[in-house]
């Protein structure tokens, strides 16, 4: 054993000496054999010949001896690597082109993989995250709808599928009493919220069921960040009172760092450590009134209970509730969605498309490299023939060439990883703002592993075919020293096939990029229904403790609107319950005078509040009637303004102004009715929504709302009124925090950032692809031209025109590019379905895009072959004739 190790180590580390000894030993043997033969009376030549015959293949014997040493693998690899380095060094341009293209493609793959790893593959940061489910209601009109709080209580009490269940709703708060008033992201949660997530507080304990009883809600759980930044990580904070919304809340717990928000749909807060505090949700009101839906459900399945079982049970419970509360609780089914799908579901499709695209780039790079290696292998035919003739086994040749490809791909991979390090940072910066788990995207061990894996795989993929090809070299032919080493017909076919596939894959990517570009442009040029320029928005929230009457709230916003309108540079200012494109989704059902809805198709619409100045400030046009005025007061007739979508859905071809709707089932007095006073233009929920939802607005003075968005339209740069806004608010109430001050452009930007991101990515990959395909086409054409120079010379000598030669070469290029393009377009059409969900306003079979791509690809291919074609055209007949 010890001897074995010593022997192997010597063979490894005294490699040169051991090799020399082997050579000496074999040489000695050979000499003695010759000597013996001569002693038998042969002449010297004959003796040597016989000795050689007896000896067998010299190289083979050496190879077997090395094998016997038992260090063969390591030694051979070292040997092969040294050899490969020398080969690369001997042809640096070749090496550089290949390594750079591989680095770009591998780097792009690593970068995309790091996104996929962080977003899709990494487990959610909760205990047994696969058991956490989100719970929604669903009906034909509202496919994904929030829960009613009293329904939730029944779900929680009756179900046997969930270990724990909780509901939560956005409930931002203002912290005062520690420095500047601060607006905080906060949620009101039922008891058990953190049990569902499987996170224990680091201090204190989470809300118990008593906290859900009205009157007990002045409790709060702090995030680790808030505790550290605002309360200097006070270890005795439990039991301390802090001022939130001007009321004293008792701190009952501090969550540990890494408590990530699982996401929410309504007034959504980004994933991650984005929530500052949690307060108890108190169940108030009449538990038989179940019409209002605003809570988000979440639950942890019991071990062994499946998603389907839970869904079935929840639907049974919902059906019971439907019988107990006919009207409000009928017509709903319950959705039970794994938290994972809820978090990443929307991004999954896009990421898969990107992975597919970047994978294609890598395939193209492989084909490209294989192509260049094939070309070089034919140039190295002689060298390989010599080695084969010396008795080197075929496998050894393949191994050696594969070592070379692996060396290339590993260097490419290492460089690619460096590129990815920078690329990922740029990628994350480019990501849409609301992208889930963006903070989880890093270059880490899995990404390193992935890079290593694809580097090795690409090395084998692009290296194997050329290596096997080369090892098939016939030593006799290779050694015959022909004037030019000619590639076999088989090899030429392989190379053409590689170029054709490169071209077709590039086509697919270009079509993809074209579709994404059209989608992006369609979205950018979409009429949003309001004016985006010079519009500043912000949110305010009046704490209930100090603004507990409708009148106080209405007054505050009236005064604010007046003082904002008086600011220099302001065209118009107002306030509304929301600004467009922020995911606002509050709906109400109602009755229309003189109309009956179809069963389970109740009249419904989005509801909003607006001050008189809101529509002018937003630049939403008035179609008919009037805007609100200060006269739409508490004691005046109830007014509403509806949008065009609502007018045409419920009063098609009718005169709408003056029509009435009501929330009452049996309206009695005039004040039960709301009169339509105006129709405004449609604003879609999201820039890419197919149409606007029906919507109506209440005058803020009649139905005051304490949380409002402020909109200020200015003559020039809207940023300049920021200070004015702060002053105006603080003159009215110095303790109010102003949140989310932004230009509406930023909101608009955020809403198109996903398509922009997809376009930029696919565009980059397509650009890389077409360059690679161009290099591939150039490589093949240039190679065949150099092979056929002799023939071209002959043709010129026989009277062929220069133009004929040029045409001949270009025709050869076309024979590669045209089938490649056709194949690519067919492939792109077939793959169209995959990207359908990412497109807006463009069909995957858009003829303009398909034609442009075809023209572009053919142009690139011809351009790439033009240079070698020119070389062919100047073929010198004299050179040919002289060499014959």
């Amino acid at each position: 054993m010890l001897n074995d190790l010593r022997y192997r180590l010597r063979a490894l580390f005294r490699h040169k000496a051991v090799e020399q000894e082997l050579e000496d030993e074999l040489h000695f043997h050979f000499d003695r054999e010759v000597e013996k033969n001569m002693n038998r009376g042969m002449n010297k030549e004959e003796a040597a010949r016989r000795a050689r015959l007896a000896f067998g293949a010299h190289e083979q014997a050496k190879e077997d001896c090395r094998e016997a040493r038992g260090t063969n693998i390591v030694e051979l690899t070292l040997d092969d690597t040294k050899y490969a380095v020398r080969q690369l060094w001997a042809n640096p341009t070749f090496a550089l082109v290949i390594i750079l293209t591989l680095a770009l493609s591998i780097g792009a793959n690593s970068a995309i993989f790091s996104v996929i790893n962080g977003v899709l593959l990494k487990r959610l940061p909760y205990a047994q995250p696969e058991r956490i489910m989100r719970i929604f209601l669903s009906s034909p009109d509202f496919p994904k709808f929030p829960l009613n709080p009293f329904d939730f209580l029944d779900y929680r009490a009756r179900n046997h599928s969930f270990q724990s269940m909780a509901a939560f709703v956005r409930n931002d708060m203002q912290l005062s009493g520690v420095g500047e008033p601060m607006h905080l992201n906060a949620f009101a949660t039922t008891s058990g919220y953190f049990r569902v997530l499987g996170i224990q507080p680091q201090l204190g304990r989470e809300f118990d069921f008593k906290a859900e009883i009205p009157g007990n809600e002045l409790q709060v759980i702090l995030s680790d960040r808030l505790w550290r930044t605002q309360f200097s990580a006070d270890p005795n904070i439990i039991g301390r009172k802090i001022t939130l919304n001007a009321q004293p809340f008792t701190v009952v717990a501090v969550m540990p760092p890494g408590t990530e928000h699982p996401g929410n749909n309504y007034h959504s807060v980004a994933y991650g450590e984005s929530v500052d505090l949690w307060s108890p949700f108190a169940f108030t009101g009449n538990s038989n009134q179940r019409g209002s839906h605003f809570m988000e459900g979440i639950g942890r399945l019991k071990p062994g209970v499946s998603e389907d079982q839970a869904r079935a049970e929840m639907n049974t419970i919902m059906a019971q509730l439907g019988r107990e509360h006919p009207g409000n609780d009928t017509g709903w089914s319950v959705l039970v969605v794994p938290l994972y799908s809820e978090v990443v579901g929307a991004s999954r499709g896009m990421l898969m498309v990107l992975l597919g695209a970047v994978g294609m780039v890598l395939l193209i790079a492989c084909a490209n490299t294989a192509n260049l290696l094939l070309a070089r292998a034919s140039a190295r035919q002689r060298e390989i023939a010599v080695r084969l003739a010396m008795g080197a086994p075929r496998l050894r040749i393949i191994r050696q060439l594969l070592t070379e490809s692996l060396l290339i791909s590993l260097i490419g991979g290492a460089l690619g990883l460096l590129l990815a390090l920078g690329g990922v940072r740029a990628l994350v910066a480019l990501l849409p703002a609301n992208f889930p788990r963006a903070h989880d995207i890093h270059i880490n061990w899995p990404v390193l592993g992935f890079t290593l894996l694809i580097s090795i795989l690409t090395g084998i993929l692009f290296g194997l075919a050329p290596a096997v090809q080369a090892s098939r070299t016939d030593p006799k032919q290779g050694l015959q020293g022909s004037r030019t080493t000619t590639a076999s017909r088989h090899q030429n076919r392989l190379r053409s096939a590689l170029v054709i596939s490169e071209v077709s894959l590039a086509c697919v990517l270009l079509v993809g990029a074209g579709l994404m570009l059209r989608t992006f442009l369609n979205l950018v040029h979409l009429d949003p229904g309001f004016h985006q320029e010079n519009l500043l928005t912000a949110s305010l929230s009046l704490p209930h403790a100090r603004y507990n009457t409708d009148e106080q709230i209405a007054q505050f916003y009236s005064k604010l609107e007046a003082s904002l309108n008086a600011l220099p540079g302001v065209v118009s200012a107002g306030a509304g319950s929301d600004v467009p494109w922020t995911g606002y989704d509050e709906n109400a059902g109602f009755n229309i005078e003189g109309k009956k809805p179809a069963p389970h198709q109740e009249f419904h619409a989005r509801y909003h509040q607006a001050t008189p100045g809101y529509f002018t400030a937003m630049g939403i046009p008035l179609h008919e009637g009037r805007f609100f005025t200060e006269a739409d007061k508490h004691d005046a007739r109830n007014a509403i303004i509806i949008n065009r979508a609502m007018a045409s859905r419920y009063w098609p071809n009718e005169d709408v102004i003056g029509k009435r709707i009501t929330f009452e089932d049996q309206p009695k007095k005039d004040s039960d009715w709301m009169y339509i006073v105006g129709i405004v233009g449609d604003v879609k929920d999201q820039p890419n929504s197919t149409g606007a939802e029906p919507a109506f607005w209440w005058p803020q003075n009649q139905v005051p709302q304490s949380d409002m968005s402020i909109a200020i339209r200015t003559r020039s740069d809207a940023r300049q009124v920021e200070d004015g806004l702060r002053d105006a608010v603080h003159r009215l109430d110095p303790q109010l925090a102003i949140a989310d001050i932004k230009l509406i452009n930023q909101v608009a930007d955020a809403s198109i950032s996903t398509p922009r991101f997809t376009f930029v990515m696919v565009g980059l990959f397509a650009g890389l692809a077409i360059v690679l395909a161009g290099i591939g086409a150039y490589g093949v054409i240039a190679y065949t031209v150099s092979q056929r120079m002799h023939e071209f010379g002959l043709r010129v000598a026989l009277g062929a025109q220069r133009d004929d030669l040029l045409r001949m070469v270009l025709a050869q290029a076309a024979r590669l590019a045209v089938p490649g393009t056709i194949l690519g377009l067919v492939l792109a059409l077939a793959l169209g379905r995959v990207v359908q969900s990412l497109l807006y306003g463009v069909s995957p079979a858009d003829p303009l895009i398909l034609i442009s791509v075809a023209v572009l690809v053919l142009a690139v291919a011809l351009l790439a072959s033009y240079v070698p074609a020119r070389r062919a055209a100047v073929a010198d007949p004299m050179m040919t004739l002289r060499s014959e």
Partner: protein, 109 residues
């Protein structure tokens, strides 16, 4: 040349070890000696001899030393180690048993 037999690997090892029993030899001498002693019936292809020598050396059954040959040239001499001698005894005995058994079967049939 007729009547020569190629050797299976295990047997080759045994023969090499046996050839080395009298004292150190270099590769060429081993092959010559085997041919001589076996009345030209057995010949060892050099392509198999040297890998076998290297393998035996790795196993620690033989040891190599550089020395001077009878015609005054530098040559690599192999000699049996202690484990090699032991191995030779074991293998010789195994071979005897095998050959007796095979003989019996061949004659009995």
């Amino acid at each position: 040349m007729t009547g020569r037999i190629e050797l299976p690997q295990g047997t080759l090892d045994l023969i090499i070890l046996r050839t080395l029993q009298p004292g150190p030899q270099h590769g060429w001498a081993i092959s010559e000696r085997v041919q001589q002693v076996s009345s030209e019936v057995l010949s060892i292809q050099q392509g198999s001899l040297y890998p076998a020598l290297h393998r035996l050396e790795r196993r620690g059954w033989i040891r190599a030393k550089w020395g001077v040959s009878d015609n005054n040239r530098r040559a690599k001499f192999y000699e049996l180690t202690r484990t090699g001698k032991l191995q030779l005894e074991l293998e010789t005995e195994a071979w005897r048993k095998l050959s007796v058994a095979v003989d019996q079967i061949l004659e009995g049939a």
